[in-house]
């Protein structure tokens, strides 16, 4: 089971990102737990300044904008 965290202040792009990851995971049949991190101190703790950012199993894989669907597939399959 993968843990995916979407870092962001709750703006529209962050919601879209979380939804995209959930949809991709369902399509691929990968078990994930998607969590939205909105606490700014926690976000900065990951070294992310441009949101939304994506953390997969505690590793930052993306920052600044909605990720590309192909990239999401790669993270989920890894």
């Amino acid at each position: 089971m993968k843990t995916v965290k979407v870092l962001g202040s709750g703006c529209r792009n962050c919601v879209t990102t979380a939804k995209l990851i959930e949809e991709k995971a369902a399509a691929l049949g990968v078990a994930v737990q998607v969590e939205k991190v909105t606490d700014i101190a926690a976000i900065m703790g990951y070294g992310v300044m441009s949101t939304p950012g994506v953390v997969v199993d505690e590793k930052v894989v993306h920052a600044g904008g909605i990720p590309k669907p192909e990239a999401v597939e790669i993270w989920l399959k890894a």
């Binding site: 962001g8 202040s9 703006c11 529209r12 792009n13 700014i40 101190a41 976000i43 900065m44 703790g45 990951y46 070294g47 992310v48 300044m49 441009s50 949101t51 930052v60 894989v61 993306h62 920052a63 600044g64 904008g65 909605i66 590309k68």
Partner: protein, 321 residues
């Protein structure tokens, strides 16, 4: 080079819709078709080309460039980098905290945050194609100048007192560089992604801006502006700025409105003051910045920009009278 858009608008308005030239509706339709086609084509081309070269700087890189510089260099550098770095205004808060955490002064950080929405490369090319290089140069210079002056004043007045206390306690993790694909196909995919991302984010502002521009162009008589918005009316500039405050659009979206106002002989200073007020100050931006700034600094920030835009308006109206 840009005649093709005029020809397209001629064809759409007079041939396709069969409108009679020089009527109100024909003028408005012509303006709408010409600006929509021109702005979206330019927007896509510029963003794609910049995406290919990956010249788009990330806020993380900018932080690295400014970190450790002296204040004197910092303000100028922050204004220049603000002009060339695109960032979503929803990132203002983490960006603000990230800069401070790196030891960058509050004023230098604010110089970046003021300049960034005002000046960007997409708006510069579109502005130049519609209004010429001279006007564009004036717009860019004043936009960066306001950022620098604002930043210097914020530090001089020791505004760091008015940054929320928790901000100083945040410790940031090591900044991560996510891997990038530098092959040609990787670059093209990235650049195309940038185009869909940016166009997807701002198209509505641009269409609304062009719609307002077209309506002004076709239906509002020039005499109305001559009566209320000429350089003879000392209240025209402050009223234009105050009208722009609650409105929000990005720089690209407000250009067609400015174009229509200029065509109605509204003086240049008044138009630029209005543009800047729409782009730089908006209620959502204030609500966001309230998370990191206490009320006195927010009040200073808002009043400084309002006054600066009014002064710029008067100055340009005097210089170009």
């Amino acid at each position: 080079m840009f005649e093709v858009f005029t020809l397209l608008a001629d064809w759409a308005a007079y041939r396709l819709l069969g409108l009679t030239p020089a009527t109100k509706l024909a003028d408005a339709v012509h303006f709408f078709v010409e600006d929509t086609s021109k702005i979206f084509v330019l927007l896509a081309v510029i963003v794609f080309v910049m995406g290919l070269f990956r010249t788009l700087l990330s806020p993380e890189k900018v932080r690295g460039y400014i970190e450790g510089r002296s204040r004197g260099v910092g303000y100028g550098l922050a204004a220049v980098l603000g002009a060339v770095t695109p960032f979503c205004s929803c990132s203002s808060v983490p960006l603000f905290i990230g800069f401070l955490e790196a030891g960058i002064p509050v004023g230098v950080t604010m110089a970046f945050l003021i300049t960034s929405p005002l000046v960007n490369e997409v708006a510069v090319v579109i502005l130049a194609s519609i209004m010429g290089w001279k006007l564009t140069a004036i717009y860019v210079a004043t936009g960066m100048g306001i950022g620098i002056v604002g930043g210097v004043l914020i530090d001089r007045l020791r505004m760091e007192r008015y940054v929320e206390d928790y901000v100083w306690k945040i410790r940031m993790g090591a900044v991560v560089r996510t891997e990038t694909d530098t092959s040609l196909s990787g670059r093209i995919r990235y650049a195309w992604g940038e185009v869909t991302d940016i166009v997807g984010r701002i198209w509505l502002y641009v269409i609304v801006g062009i719609g307002i521009g077209a309506a002004l162009h076709g239906y509002v008589p020039q005499e109305l502006f001559a009566e209320y918005a000429s350089a003879d009316n000392p209240f025209a500039v402050p009223v234009a700025v105050l009208m722009g405050l609650p409105l929000y659009s990005n720089a690209t979206g407000v250009i067609p409105v400015a174009e229509a106002l200029l065509a109605k002989a509204v003086p240049i200073g008044t138009v630029i003051a209005f543009m800047m007020s729409v782009v730089a100050i908006s209620p959502p931006e204030f609500i966001m910045l309230r998370k990191v700034l206490k009320v006195p600094m927010l009040a200073f920030f808002g009043s400084f920009l309002t006054i600066a835009f009014i002064l710029v308006g008067y100055l340009l109206n005097t210089l170009f009278a």
